[in-house]
């Protein structure tokens, strides 16, 4: 079966800013694909082109075999979009918002009212349906924002950082509902800069940085790139010496990579236990306080560090 989404050499420039620099990937029907990347990597820009909002500078994007450039209306019928910024009418109720957007997706009559009820159940806001969105908490608004993208049961759902800025409980609920939607057969393209989310949700992951797709594959395929390395994660007191410790760690035998982000020092090595002692010695020598030590099996964070030399959350 042909992939539901095909992206070929996608380039998007804003004037002289190159936001996306030749990205290619496919998404198969039924999978959850995560686009993982730091702020400004080009995730939103990519989704904007994929969802027909922006025209690509060059390259080719097809959804269900339809070009986003020449057949945007056909594409729009297949896709649902959950934008990164909440896009709702504050002065309409949740119910009125859903009815309105359902109509924009050509739903009407009983189908429309049924779908709206269904979505209200899914986002667990049936009891607040008649309240204006203005009166909702951030998490509730996020849920309505997602609900709007689900009304017409799209085959392919784009979700652009849907968990930004909300409490852990709402975040949990959203991640669970993404999995539930996927079980019902919906294909999902999910962007995030949280490694954990990509790790929990996705079948395949694309890592994007500075407008380029620097890695693409299943989580196993990606972590294999870093080898069988572990990550030694140290929480240290902040200060000048942390940078020095980071540099010093690189000269310890067996250390592959080392980077700091705020008060976190991440050191990659084949066997974390073996470098733990020398790192502590160095820390003492540089007078760096260690608050906690954790050893992580290879993960996407490590992949990103390995590929870019930077931590994901810079």
């Amino acid at each position: 079966m042909a992939p539901i989404l095909e992206v070929r050499n996608l380039v998007k420039n804003y004037g002289s800013t190159a936001a996306v620099k030749g990205v290619s990937f496919n998404i198969e029907e039924g999978e959850i694909f995560s686009l993982l990347g730091p702020n400004g990597a080009g995730k939103t820009t990519t989704i904007s082109v994929l969802s027909t909002l922006l025209a690509p500078t060059s390259g080719d994007v097809r959804v269900g075999g339809h070009s986003v450039v020449s057949e945007p209306m056909k594409v729009r019928n297949l896709i649902g979009v959950v934008p990164q910024e909440i896009a709702l009418y504050d002065d309409l109720t949740a119910h009125e918002n859903l009815i309105f957007w359902g109509q924009m997706y050509n739903l009407s009559g009983k189908t429309l009212t049924d779908r709206v009820q269904q979505v209200l159940q899914e986002i667990e806001l049936a009891d607040r349906a008649k309240d204006r969105v203005r009166t909702f908490s951030g998490g509730m608004k996020r849920r309505v924002n997602i609900g709007v993208g689900l009304l017409h049961r799209p085959r392919l759902l784009f979700m652009d950082e849907p968990t930004v800025g909300i409490d852990p409980q709402s975040r949990r609920a959203i991640l669970d509902s993404v999995k539930a939607l996927n079980r019902q057969g919906m294909t999902v393209l999910y962007t995030t800069h949280y490694m954990e989310e990509a790790q929990e949700l996705s079948d395949r992951v694309g890592i994007i940085d500075h407008g380029e797709l620097i890695a693409l594959g299943t989580q196993n395929e990606l972590t294999r790139q870093v080898g069988e390395n572990d990550a030694l994660v140290l929480e240290v007191g902040e200060g000048e010496n942390v940078r020095q410790l980071c540099e010093a760690a690189k000269s310890i035998p067996g250390v592959v990579e080392s980077d700091t982000s705020g008060s976190t020092l991440t050191i990659i090595a084949p066997e974390a236990e073996e470098i733990l002692a020398p790192v502590i010695v160095q820390a003492n020598a540089l007078n760096v306080k260690i608050h906690s030590v954790a050893i992580q099996e290879p993960n996407l964070e490590a992949v990103f560090l390995h590929l870019t030399g930077r931590a994901l959350r810079d």
Binding site: S51, T52, L53, M73, R76, N77, I79, V81, P83, E85, I86, A87, L88, Y89, D90, D91, L92, E96, F100, W101, Q103, M104, Y105, N106, S108, R132, V148
Partner: protein, 397 residues
């Protein structure tokens, strides 16, 4: 079609979600119309009120009062002295005439009886009353003089045989003299005052029409505010990833605003008819077409302004400023004839001028669709040109 209605309905809910919108939609226009028209109700009796105490109660005093009222610029109320004095003291009437008991024909003829006319100080109407009363005295006494001298003349030719015959002759002569007087041209008729000549002006109609235009065009000029708002909150971007054409969105939003303006105008016209007794002319159809064209012209300009508007606040600020200015210079607040000729000519580039002229042509000058076709044409021209600019320069991002 369903989408069109959905978009319009959404805009209606958004607009009236704040209760203060009713203030601008209906309450303020109505209040301003009423205040600027100087009150509601049937055409006001603009005659000057004169209170009269008639101590004489003679045929002559009755004639005098009738002669005063005949001038149709004064209404005379005959009251007992106490009552009349009170009214005058309370400034209920600017003038008070006391006719002394001695006013019989002889006394008047001798010219020995003085009428007592009291006037409020610094009241222009007083001067007019004084002249009117003098004219009336002269007129009444003239008829009497003519009758008396006729009797004298007749007696010189052939003496009367009896006093009864003499009296009958006098009465006949007086009647003839009065008839002559009545047939003679009026000495004093007043014309409703208004500054320059030839202004068709009616306070109720002018203020209602002017306020209606003002309050209707302001939200339409601010139409780009709703585009900017939707761009800002991201709903425009969301709209553009649904299977909805850009043109349909733009068209529906504009149409919705124009329809809301039409409803607003219908309510204000209705208020004028039922509360302020305004006659909007003989052609409701022509009025509807004219008002629709006015709304379209304002909506066109509002859409074009979107090209340089960046925030909803800016949109409403610019709409209020430009709307008020256009209303003022278009003759919506004061008759355009009061402006210097240069401004009168320049105001022809404003849709408000054409709208106001058109309404007054219908309402005050009793004209029909034919007469206001040029107005409708010009307004539609405004609409076409500005919509073209606005749509061409519309920014979705």
């Amino acid at each position: 079609m369903k989408k069109l209605i959905a978009i319009i309905w959404k805009d209606v809910i958004l607009r009236f979600s704040s209760p203060s919108e009713w203030l601008f939609f209906l309450i303020l226009p109505v209040v301003f119309s009423v205040i600027l028209a100087g009150g509601t109700g049937a055409p006001v009796d603009s005659r000057v009120r004169l209170v009269v105490t008639d101590h004489a109660q003679s045929p002559l005093s009755a004639q005098l009062i009738a002669a005063i009222e005949e001038t149709n610029s004064i209404t005379a109320d005959v009251l007992p002295q106490a009552e009349a004095e009170e009214e005058f003291e309370d400034r209920q009437a600017p003038a008070y005439l006391i006719i002394p008991a001695e006013l019989t024909s002889e006394a008047a003829l001798n010219g020995g009886v003085a009428l007592d006319l009291r006037l409020l100080p610094n009241n222009l109407n007083g001067v007019m009353v004084e002249q009117t009363v003098n004219t009336a005295i002269w007129k009444v006494s003239s008829a009497l003089r003519i009758a008396a001298s006729s009797v004298e003349e007749a007696e010189r030719i052939r003496p009367f045989e009896s006093e009864a015959q003499r009296a009958a002759y006098y009465d006949a002569a007086l009647q003839a003299a009065q008839q002559e007087w009545d047939a003679a041209p009026r000495r004093m008729t007043t014309v409703e005052a208004s500054t320059p000549d030839q202004i068709d002006y009616d306070p109720q109609t002018n203020s209602s029409a002017g306020q209606m235009i003002t309050w209707v065009i302001i939200p339409l000029l601010g139409i780009s505010g709703s585009f900017v708002y939707e761009r800002q909150i991201g709903t425009l971007r969301r709209m553009l990833v649904t299977p909805t054409r850009k043109g349909l969105y733009l068209f529906s939003t504009i149409l919705g605003n124009v329809l809301m303006a039409m409803v607003q105008m219908a309510l204000l016209v209705g208020f004028g008819v039922w509360v302020m007794n305004i006659h909007w002319g003989n052609s409701p159809g022509a009025l509807a077409v004219l008002l629709a064209a006015t709304a379209l012209a304002a909506a066109g300009i509002g859409t074009a302004m979107g090209a340089f508007i960046k925030t909803p606040g800016q949109a409403s600020g610019v709409a209020i400023m430009s709307g008020m200015l256009m209303a003022l210079l278009g003759g919506c607040w004061y008759p355009i004839e009061l402006f210097p000729p240069a401004i009168q000519n320049a105001s022809l580039v404003l849709p408000t001028r054409w709208a106001m002229d058109g309404i007054l042509d219908l309402a005050l000058r009793g004209q029909g669709l034919q007469a206001i076709l040029p107005h409708i044409g010009v307004l539609m021209g405004f609409a076409l040109v500005f919509f073209a600019i606005g749509v061409a320069r519309f920014r979705y991002e």
